[in-house]
Symmetry: C2
Subunit: 213 residues, 2 copies
DNA sequence: CAAAGATTAGACAAACCTTTCTGTCTTTCC
DNA sequence: GGAAAGACAGAAAGGTTTGTCTAATCTTTG
């Protein structure tokens, strides 16, 4: 079963309709997909295990056999969701066939697409950290891993763009992305992706003396 | 009982130690302060009513007499916390006696102070929206009100700075602020305030042709 | 001082949550 | 085919949740 291209699982609507042959994936993955959807839409602690089981059509014993506890399910869901999201985001980015400055700007177009999905519920990691005990490093560690993976790609594009300080530009772009993600969640207005893109353009110009727009 | 100057209630540690005369405020405000603290640190849905009552030393009947339900308490806490935070933030900003470009940049210094508090748990509104049902506009409306109040001040300073498009600069600054807030929550690294400040400086320069730094 | 109103402590109901367990059914593998 | 493993439905345990109610006590106010 290869990974298919689809919207981020935060959006995760079509997770259960797979190509014929096997109508539904393994119960374990069905749990992940359904839990990701519910956690993102309604919040983690507000979503009971029974809800997930009913919606996934999975027995309770199966959940506890596969994941052990709800906390571990949460961690697995975050890993799964992060993987799905990055796959989607980077695949769409790759399809554009651009790099450097153009790629950095394209990221904000893709964010705009994400924000405009009616299943946009913000970033699963930001929301998860926000509703967990902030003195507990467990969930934060998962978020940091996700963040690091994204920063890595941004930095590669920043270097390709010829930034005089690629690391600094990377952090600037990341700040705009995070800001846009939470702003879009709160305002439900996808245009903040364009605002962020314009700001990014200015920052890139300042950092890349060679190719001014 | 006049409002005293203090750290934002997200930080809210010293909320119960008041100047002599009245050891503790009214039960109703004690509930707000304690609930704000717990909601911010451990999450709203993860915090039970009993916990709040025990820590505030308030009877359960008093909570339900004053607020009616937990949902209404949450709304009251968010309003209270937002008021406290804005009071703190704007007061500290005013004390600096700067305006325009200098004020916009000073905001990021103040954010840096906030981020470095060991009681920094991110923005109460962002976290609250993140852990609530995203199809329910109730909590989002409170967050939007808070956001609007902040945008208003940013815009005033953007205009004072002589920005050619003050509204656009306002949104840019706001994106950086929100990005820094969530980045600081996840990384627990206050230096992202400085990164955001540097980015803001670039954006302001681009928007304010008169006074380049 | 006295009355009115608020607060407290705590018991209590009803719902919900996580987790375990039992027993049956289906799939898989040799 | 037969055996072993996994999945299913659902009950039940044990704890926690929100919310209500009853008295007794404290605070405020006229």
């Amino acid at each position: 079963m290869e990974r298919m291209k689809r919207a981020p699982v935060c959006a995760g609507g079509a997770a259960l309709v797979e190509p014929a042959g096997r109508v539904v994936p393994h119960p374990s993955e069905r749990l992940l997909a359904v839990a990701a959807q519910l956690f993102c839409r309604e919040g983690i602690h507000a979503t009971g295990v029974d809800r997930i089981l009913a919606e996934a059509g999975v027995a309770k014993a199966t959940l506890y056999r596969n994941f052990g506890s709800k906390e571990k399910l949460i961690a697995a869901v975050l890993r799964y969701e992060g993987e799905q999201w990055r796959h989607w985001f980077f695949d769409v980015l790759d399809e554009r066939g651009v790099d450097g400055r153009e790629a950095l700007l394209a990221m904000f177009d893709i964010l705009g697409v994400w924000f405009r999905m009616d299943t946009y519920y913000g970033c699963a990691f930001i929301n998860a950290v926000g509703e967990h005990d902030k003195t507990d490093p467990a969930v934060r560690a998962l978020a940091l891993e996700h963040k690091r993976a994204i920063l890595q790609r941004i930095q590669a594009e920043a270097e390709a763009a010829g930034a005089t300080d690629a690391a600094l530009l990377t952090h600037w772009i990341a700040l705009l992305i995070d800001g846009a993600i939470v702003t879009a969640m709160i305002t439900r207005d996808g245009t903040c992706a364009t605002l962020a893109k314009d700001a990014a353009s200015v920052l890139i110009d300042r950092m890349c003396p060679t190719s001014q727009s």
